[in-house]
């Protein structure tokens, strides 16, 4: 950091974690996506100051990092809930009623797709094809796959995580 340069205010725990991740990937150029993924795993999401801190650390323009984090659905720039529900909206799932399932989650959690419940428990997102079209309509909760669902299954699913 240059003398007189404005510093980025960041939680020291976060910056230490990021420094470790950056150091571990230092040998491999072009590993921005990997670093972002590991950072998100560590911190939970990628807020603005984390992106800016990474920009300084990696000497990659912030606009480029911001371009990557907003391009890939995988990255969250807002805090996510304790559990993430990803409902597949690929063609097969959509045809088999994924839209109704999303609507039912929205009704029961009282949020819109892409949002997190007020208590920070659940994040609901509509995602692209999960590649499990045989199980359509399919969703994942924290990476666990649930298939061949109807909107009637929503209450049961949520109860498992209460």
């Amino acid at each position: 950091m240059n003398p007189g340069q404005y510093e980025i205010a960041i939680d020291p725990q976060w910056s230490t974690a990021i420094d470790t991740i950056v150091a571990a990937n230092a040998a491999q150029p072009g590993s921005l996506i990997q670093i972002l993924e590991q950072t998100q795993k560590e911190i939970g999401y990628l807020p603005e100051n984390v992106q800016a801190y990474l920009s300084e650390k990696l000497d990659i323009p912030l606009s480029e990092i911001y371009g990557v984090t907003t391009f890939y659905a995988l990255f969250n720039t807002e805090p996510v809930g304790q559990h993430t529900i990803s409902v597949c909206m690929g063609t097969a799932c959509y045809v088999k009623g994924a839209g109704d399932i999303v609507a039912e989650f929205e009704r029961q959690l009282d949020i819109k797709a892409g949002e997190t419940t007020q208590d920070g428990k659940f994040t609901l997102e509509a995602c692209r094809c999960l590649g499990a079209c045989g199980l359509a309509p399919v969703l994942t909760i924290d990476g666990h796959v649930h298939g061949r669902l109807t909107s009637a299954d929503v209450r049961n699913l949520l109860e498992n995580y209460e």
Partner: protein
């Protein structure tokens, strides 16, 4: 992609024509050699080659589907077709899809007539718009003092993004989101003044449409001219005369300096002055400052500060080098400071009634004139420069009057700021400031005449150039010249690491220097491909032709410079010079709107210069408070009260 050696040739067939082209060529370049201009939109030679707009699609035998010519490399025996029904229809459909999300307000768009999307629609025969559909959100970003951004006109070609990133290494503009929501904008949906934009305007020069344009100050200037109380003066930067002719159909590289005074008088300006004069003054101050630092142990390398885009970049990205920036103001701001003090005094006009306009090749000059150091000055609280017109805006004003620019007669610039030497005029091209400075530094330091005044190793378009100059009695001086911030950054990193060691560095934000500035006439993508050489080389030649015509080539030989020191400023670096002609800089965060930018850093060592600039009390050399009472010599009688000064030759 591996690039084969450029000297090997391959044989390709384009539309039945067999030609031999370098193996490193693209299909687009090969076709141009065969006399076929394949239409392009996102392609910008040497800057943006992404193949993303799909307007340049061609058929290549054995390749699947249609391929973009701008990125497809040639290979031996390749057979290309550029004109089939499928190609014509596909290109047209691609364009119609782009047009479906583009406003139809061409009549009132600043780029009407110079819009590449408009001319492409005509060229490809678009006659109706068959795809009514969703339309992007409309963001009009007026936050920057220099640049206006209308997101609705953006066609996402990324020419501005590549320019901002590759040429300037600023990356204030980037691509975010995806699909239909794709945005070309600063990060986090910020406005341009909330990020590290250096206001250089190179993005405007790259934009094929009207999504990016200069902040227009034409109406303000017309209003001032129409106001009988205002004494409206104008200064014209050297490089304007090397490019203005292009707006009136002349080839790039045609000098038009001799027509400019008459043109500006026709617009109604009371006095027409030459920024070349204050360029000479900049050299006097900066040259002496350099000698002072060299002999007195000041911060070296000293770096030039006349390019406001570069200064802003330094403030954002290299705050530790601010002490290396010359404290001399740019010629525009030196002129502004003198216009409302020295000129007000000798002409007997209340500085509040002087309206000071500058014509610049530069959008960053609009930002520079609004910096806190240059506004709200003196007892009267005036701004040193009241309006900045780019070369393009001046052309628009001239066109509004219907004046036949090409028939104007030759007239001199007005006294007392009418004479610039060849040294001052050369400021407009990369290397010009250094060359001018060396001429004055040499003769001031050694008291010997400089034999050969041309430092040829500092001329040209190479990104980084350098020279060793032996100053007898002082020692060898190692200097460097860079243009384009990317090149500057490369050099500064070497300086910081100790790999390079210089005494004096000239940095210009824009490639080519001011002649390639962000306010200059636009050179479109097709011209960049077809002009016989780089337009910046052509403009530099015009600039040198202007400077060759002058009888004096060293700033310190300028008779009006001698006079202003004798009558007013005393000597270079005098207290009065410091007050009027020097300035200071400050570290700036890259992202100002963020709460996560710590703002409480200690910057006291970065404010450079004389103590009274920190206090708001007026300095003894501020204009005398009698200007606050009605001035007996005020307009319109001022002309009878002008003291005699040497006329421009």
């Amino acid at each position: 992609m591996a690039t084969p050696a450029s000297n090997t040739m391959v044989q390709v067939t384009i539309d039945g024509q067999s030609i031999s082209v370098p193996a490193s060529a693209t299909v687009l370049e090969a076709a141009q050699q065969a006399g076929i201009m394949i239409p392009t939109l996102c392609y910008l030679k040497d800057i943006n080659q992404t193949g993303s707009c799909r307007v340049c699609l061609v058929e290549i035998e054995k390749a699947r589907g249609l391929q973009p010519a701008c990125v497809y490399p040639v290979s031996d025996g390749m057979v290309v077709r550029t004109n089939t029904p499928l190609i014509r229809e596909t290109r047209k459909s691609v364009l119609e899809l782009i047009l479906s999300d583009h406003p139809q307000d061409c009549l009132s768009c600043v780029r009407s007539d110079s819009c590449e999307l408009q001319s492409l629609s005509k060229q490809l025969g678009v006659e109706n718009l068959p795809y009514p559909g969703e339309v992007s959100d409309y963001t009009l970003d007026l936050s920057s003092p220099s640049i206006e951004r209308s997101s609705d006109k953006c066609i996402k070609c990324r020419r501005c993004v590549s320019t901002c990133q590759k040429i300037q290494h600023v990356s204030a503009l980037g691509v975010s989101q995806r699909g239909f929501n794709t945005q070309v904008a600063p990060v986090f949906r910020h406005t341009l003044d909330e990020v590290n934009c250096i206001t250089c305007g190179q993005c405007i020069n790259a934009c094929p449409v009207g999504a990016l344009r200069e902040k227009d100050e034409i109406q303000k200037v017309w209003q001032a001219i129409a106001d009988p109380v205002q004494h409206v003066i104008v200064q014209v930067a050297p490089s304007v005369r090397a490019a203005l002719g292009e707006e009136f159909g002349l080839d790039p590289g045609t000098p038009v300096g001799h027509r400019i005074p008459a043109a500006l008088k026709h617009l109604g300006f009371d006095k027409v002055f030459d920024t070349g004069f204050t360029a000479d003054l900049t050299i006097m101050e900066e040259g002496n400052e350099f000698l002072d630092r060299l002999q007195g142990g000041g911060a070296l390398p000293m770096i030039t500060s006349c390019s406001p885009g570069w200064v802003k970049y330094c403030e954002h990205h290299y705050p530790d080098l601010l002490k290396n920036l010359s404290t001399a103001k740019s010629p525009q701001q030196m002129f502004g400071a003198l216009a409302k003090t020295y000129y007000a005094d000798i002409s007997g006009i209340d500085p509040r009634n002087i309206y000071s306009v500058s014509v610049m090749p530069c959008t960053a000059k609009k930002y520079e004139r609004q910096r806190a150091e240059h506004t709200n000055r003196g007892y009267e609280g005036y701004d040193d420069v009241d309006a900045v017109l780019t070369t393009r805006e001046l052309a628009r004003m001239l066109k509004q009057t219907g004046l036949d620019f090409l028939r104007l007669s030759e007239e001199p610039f007005d006294a007392p700021f009418g004479i610039g030497t060849g040294a001052g005029i050369n400021f407009g091209a990369t290397g010009g400031v250094m060359e001018a400075a060396l001429r004055t530094v040499y003769e001031t330091a050694t008291n010997q005449p400089l034999g050969n005044i041309e430092f040829l190793s500092l001329r040209g378009m190479e990104g980084i150039r350098e020279a060793h100059v032996d100053l007898p009695g002082v020692g060898a001086v190692h200097v460097a010249v860079v243009h384009g911030i990317s090149n500057a950054r490369d050099l500064l990193e070497k300086v910081k690491s100790g790999e390079a060691d210089y005494h004096f560095i000239e940095i210009m934000a824009c490639p080519g220097g001011c002649i390639g500035g962000g306010g200059q006439p636009l050179i479109n993508a097709q011209q960049r491909m077809t002009l016989p050489e780089d337009y910046r080389i052509m403009r530099t030649r015009a600039l040198f032709a202007e400077s060759q015509d002058l009888s004096l080539h060293k700033s310190h030989d300028n008779p009006n410079i001698k006079l202003i020191y004798e009558k007013y400023l005393e000597h270079p670096l005098s207290e009065k010079s410091h007050y009027l002609l020097h300035t200071h800089y400050q570290a700036r965060p890259k992202y100002t709107a963020q709460q996560w930018v710590a703002q409480d850093r200690d910057h006291e060592d970065l404010d450079i210069l004389v103590p009274w600039q920190h206090a708001h009390e007026p300095h003894p050399h501020e204009p005398h408070p009698e200007h606050l009472v009605p001035n007996p010599f005020a307009y319109p009688d001022y002309e009878n009260t002008q003291p005699s000064l040497p006329e421009s030759p």
